[in-house]
């Protein structure tokens, strides 16, 4: 059931006469936004509560709420965020900034890509900061220099919403985030929640507000409203549908990217685990390992997601279909031979820990088992760093190790290095040296220039990280900044 969008048909001025119905509607919305029980705000308190709302949101705290002004927009946006029942499909797909597709910065001296100018103009028209006529300019008519038409509107928006006034909108910056937030209710109202299928435009239902105390005492009732501007309304719907088209293009792009030839990991692990296993197998891992990992992963997922026996059975059948057990290690022995054998433990780790999203410790155990089998079969070769690593993972108790790792991450267990140590680990360079030496050797043996360059990049990164640690960088810090 679609709820009626929050609208105002007249301004609310604490120092002037107001339409009672408008006042009660706005007070109700404010209560919802600020988590108060319905009816908590009486008309007499509305002015103060509005001012408090404005000052906490960076708006001008004057208590005035204009029909399409910043305070109304902020209340509507917050209400929209609170009351929408499901995530809109475009937001689910595109995430942050989904209501306003931006690929580069817009504003004075910025990249001002034509598509970005087009979308920004439409967004600004919907928030009332740019005339709709300007926003209706076709996409291919936008040029970089047209940013000058948009910059003042961005500045107006920034000024009204208490943001830094620089006339620039950067992807995922504060202005873009605010626009994305403010556009939510208006887009939902005019284009509907699903941008891939915008709803048919409907004429807006106008209401005639009547201020409780007429300006001029008269015996005759005087409606206090301008006749509705249908042309303006039509244009606005057109703008909203245009922005929906921009969002749709972004969604299509995103979907295409996801459906590229080699098919990225699936969203639903239940239906895709078999297919992924097949792909991985095709890429050169012995089938037995892939199958073991996939079976273990299915069991883990079944436990985690509480699958019924039927679901579990169907997933196993799917796996059997894509990766039959009978075909173990026939042609795959060939692909895993010689140099590829050395890569097996690492690849198995990768498969488990990353593609299937499980734990590297478990992967290590399986990889080590595989190694042991190889040793029994007389296939063991000189130990590579990867294989040693797999052994290291595999020969210890998984649970204990898992707990220990978690504790280490929290900084509760002392380790030979890490957050418990004073920062500026002078031994970091020394510790990294064997790995650097190992890579040096591999660089010398690398058959191609490409291989050499890739290894050189790895060597540099190890040296850089060690140097940073030696200089005393706090290694938990950057991760936090990024999130």
């Amino acid at each position: 059931m679609e709820t009626e969008p929050f609208q105002l048909f007249d301004r609310i001025d604490p120092d002037d006469r107001n339409d009672d119905e408008e006042v009660s509607r706005f007070a109700g919305a404010l209560d919802k936004v600020e988590n108060r029980p319905p009816g908590a705000t009486r008309p007499a308190d509305l002015g103060e509560r509005t001012k408090a709302f404005q000052s906490t949101r960076g708006l001008k705290p004057d208590g005035l709420v204009n029909e399409r002004g910043p305070t109304f927009q902020k209340v509507a946006a917050e209400l929209h965020e609170k009351t929408r029942k499901t995530t809109e499909p475009h937001r689910k797909l595109l995430g942050r900034g989904a209501n306003l597709p931006l690929w580069g910065s817009v504003g004075r001296g910025e990249s001002n890509l034509p598509g970005d100018l087009h979308s920004t103009a439409r967004g600004l028209a919907l928030t009332g900061h740019l005339p709709t006529r300007t926003a209706l300019r076709p996409r291919d008519e936008w040029q970089e220099e047209d940013a000058r038409d948009i910059t003042p509107a961005i500045e107006r928006l920034q000024r009204q919403h208490g943001l830094k006034v620089d006339g620039v909108m950067t992807p995922f910056g504060p202005t873009h985030e605010r626009m994305d937030h403010l556009l939510g209710p208006r887009l939902a109202e005019l284009a509907g929640p699903d941008m891939r299928a915008p709803k048919t435009p409907e004429p807006r239902r106008h209401k005639q507000p009547v201020r409780s105390d007429p300006f001029v005492p008269t015996r005759f009732f005087t409606p206090f409203v301008d006749p509705p501007d249908r042309e303006e309304e039509r244009r606005e719907v057109e703008v909203a549908h245009g922005l929906a088209a921009d969002i749709r293009r972004d969604m299509d792009f995103e979907l295409q990217a996801r459906a590229t030839d080699q098919a990225a990991p699936a969203i639903d692990s239940r239906t895709e685990v078999g297919i992924k296993a097949e792909q991985v197998s095709r890429n050169g891992l012995p089938r037995s390992i892939v199958r073991d990992l996939a079976v273990a992963r299915i069991d883990e997922l079944a436990k985690q997601e509480d699958w019924s026996d039927e679901v579990r059975q169907s997933v196993r059948l799917q796996l059997d279909e894509h990766l039959p057990a009978e075909q173990e290690d026939d042609e795959s022995v060939e692909v895993a031979a010689a140099p590829a054998i050395a890569a097996v433990p690492a690849a198995a780790n990768w498969l488990w820990a990353l593609l299937f999203g499980g734990s590297a410790v478990g992967a290590g155990a399986i990889a080590a088992d595989q190694l042991r089998k190889n040793e029994v079969d007389g296939n063991d070769e000189s130990a590579s760093p990867n294989r040693n690593e797999a052994r290291k993972h595999g020969n210890r108790d998984d649970n204990e190790e898992g707990d220990n790792r978690r504790e280490k991450r929290r900084g509760k267990v002392a380790s030979d290095s890490g957050k418990n140590e004073p920062h500026g680990d002078a031994k970091a360079i020394e510790k990294a040296q064997p790995q650097v030496d190992e890579i040096e050797k591999r660089i010398q043996d690398a058959p191609t220039k490409k291989e050499k360059k890739k290894l050189k990049v790895k060597k540099r990164n190890i040296a850089k990280t060690a140097q940073k640690r030696a200089k005393g960088e706090h290694h938990g810090e950057r991760g936090k900044k990024n999130r």
Binding site: G418, I462, K464
Partner: protein
């Protein structure tokens, strides 16, 4: 230079940093300082502390900038790759890494790193705890297959 300027242009560069350009030009135009990250790269690297980006020059062939190491920001398709979950990253780039290229290093900074090469995008990513974190995303030119 702002974080959002660090946009990956596969095989060509990262924002204004273009592969093949000289480091001196970079230091002149953008706020990059010479840095020492190890004995062999003293001459051939520049660092921007604010963005946590290190740029390395090809010190063998003198072919200009060879790799850009982004430790905090690298934007691709409007998303910062650093800090992204590996699974999301693979979805975003739509490329499966080469199995032969997977490496594992314990940098002693809180966990082992898996290193993956995404040749079509000219990316080397360092993954720890399934997340592209610290020193993770390295852009380099897209190399020719055989030499």
């Amino acid at each position: 230079m702002k974080p959002s300027d660090l946009m990956l242009d596969p095989g060509k560069g990262v924002g204004l940093i273009r592969f093949g350009d000289s480091l001196d030009k970079l230091a002149e135009d953008l706020a990059f300082e010479p840095v020492s990250w190890g004995d062999d790269s003293n001459r051939a690297s520049r660092y921007n502390e604010e963005l946590d980006v290190t740029v390395f020059e090809d010190d063998d062939d003198g072919e200009g900038i060879e790799s850009v190491h982004c430790d905090r920001y690298l934007f691709y398709r409007q998303q910062n790759l650093v800090g992204m979950r590996f699974k999301d990253f693979v979805v975003l780039v739509g490329e499966v890494p080469d199995f032969g290229d997977i490496d594992y290093f314990d940098l002693d900074d809180g966990g082992g790193h898996f290193v993956f090469e995404f040749d079509r995008h000219g990316l080397q990513v360092w993954v720890r705890h399934q997340t592209l974190t610290v020193s993770t995303v390295i852009a380099h030119p897209i190399y020719d297959d055989d030499e």
